[in-house]
């Protein structure tokens, strides 16, 4: 697995637990559905009668294999996703790129950042992961520009660094503006 590294990702690495977490979130729906189907089919074969005894075991085995395959494929995909996940804080802007098959890349200048927040969902709590969200004034940037699956230290470090850079940027621009706008002062 070749991980696309950037300076920022070296400094604030993604946790490998993210792969497991994402595998669970992406397959849990299917698994529940399959288990329900399994029960229904068990009930169905039972009620048909005694001449289909063997059937039940075969169906159950099929379901188990199917669930296993779903998890395996999902795991491999998430590993790939994890490997190509790219985020970098440049001199002037933040770049987040994800998606192995259909890549999406967003670039936001520091000056345009409207808010930064860190959150955890239920599974994040269990795994001890944090998501750092940042967005500009557009709705789609909020959806795209989040860096999720960081350990506590990395998340806090990243947040601090972002806040610092943004603040520096704004104050720098302000001082420049003061001198240009009000030459008397």
């Amino acid at each position: 697995m070749k991980i696309s590294m950037s300076k920022t990702r070296e400094q604030f690495p993604l946790s490998f637990k993210k792969i497991i977490k994402k595998t669970i979130t992406s397959t849990i729906g299917y698994i529940i559905l399959l288990v329900i189907l399994l029960f229904i089919s068990a009930y169905g074969t039972e009620s048909v009668g005694q001449n289909v005894y063997g059937m039940h075991g075969i169906i159950a085995l099929g379901f188990v294999i199917f669930i296993f395959l779903t998890i395996l494929i999902s795991y491999l995909y998430q590993r790939w996703y994890f490997a190509v996940y790219f985020y970098d804080l440049n001199m002037d802007y933040i770049q987040v790129k994800k998606g192995p098959i259909t890549p999406r890349e967003i670039t936001i200048p520091y000056e345009r950042i409207q808010d930064i927040y860190v959150d955890q969902d239920l599974l994040d709590r269990i795994f001890g992961l944090y998501d750092v969200h940042l967005s500009s004034a557009t709705a789609s940037s909020g959806m795209e520009a989040h860096i999720d699956g960081l350990e506590k230290n990395a998340a806090e470090g990243l947040r601090t660094m972002l806040l610092q850079t943004v603040q520096q940027r704004i104050s720098k621009n302000k001082s420049v503006n003061v001198t240009t706008n009000n030459p008397v002062l």
Binding site: G29, D92, Y93, I101, T102, P103, R104, E105, I106, T107, I108, P109, Y110, E111, R112, I113, Q114, D115, I116, S136, A137, T138, A139, S140, S141, M143, E144, A145, L163, V166, Q167, R169, I170, N173, K174, N177, N181
Partner: protein
């Protein structure tokens, strides 16, 4: 105006036309095949009718895609990003570099196959034609559903400008040029929410 970058430098590739009508082309081919199989059978007149509709529709789709591409112009001028579009009703838009919020470079699955990429530029305005936010239904599991349903056409609407069908290399260069312009032309009272 000497150093302005226009669509002549980084054009929307002709492949984009092909890409945007791929669905229609597939429908067209299927319709033709079905027509060849069933077409001359007198009993199936109604199917013929639908097939003809499909063929006409996909043909129009192609024509519109060609027109849309040929009437879309962008130019990265000194102070503004100037855009022109419209087949019958023409629209022009000028975006100062200072108000651009973020840039996207995206590739969907067909883009990957054709080696294309689309560049999306967003600002915070709602544009001339306000598109209400799509409602999130409680049954939607994640944001990915919404992301997938975003329209991917040429030109501008709402707060986004979409330049699709660029070569991947060109999309990157264009992104860099615009970022450079944004850096050179900051807003006067630069305020972030923080």
């Amino acid at each position: 105006m000497d150093n302005s970058v226009t669509e002549k430098d980084y054009p929307v590739e002709n492949l984009w036309i092909l890409k945007s009508v791929t669905g229609s082309i597939v429908a067209f081919i299927i319709a033709i095949i079905l027509l060849v199989i069933f077409g001359f059978n007198q009993e199936l007149r109604q199917i013929d009718f639908y097939l003809f509709i499909i063929i006409i529709f996909s043909f129009f789709h192609l024509v519109i895609a060609i027109l849309r591409k040929s009437t879309f112009h962008y130019s990265i001028d000194k102070g503004f990003l100037t855009l022109r579009q419209g087949i019958l009703s023409k629209q022009q838009r000028h975006i100062p570099y200072g108000v651009i919020q973020n840039l996207f470079v995206k590739q969907d699955i067909l883009d990957r196959i054709f080696g294309l990429a689309s560049l999306t530029i967003e600002n915070a305005s709602q544009g001339s034609s306000y598109i209400p936010q799509q409602k999130m239904s409680p049954f939607q599991l994640s944001m990915t559903r919404y992301r997938g349903s975003q329209i991917e056409s040429v030109g501008f609407s709402g707060n986004r400008v979409n330049i699709p069908g660029l070569k991947k290399k060109n999309a990157k260069v264009l992104k860099r040029i615009i970022l450079q312009r944004m850096k050179e032309n900051p807003l006067e009272d630069n305020r972030s929410g923080l």
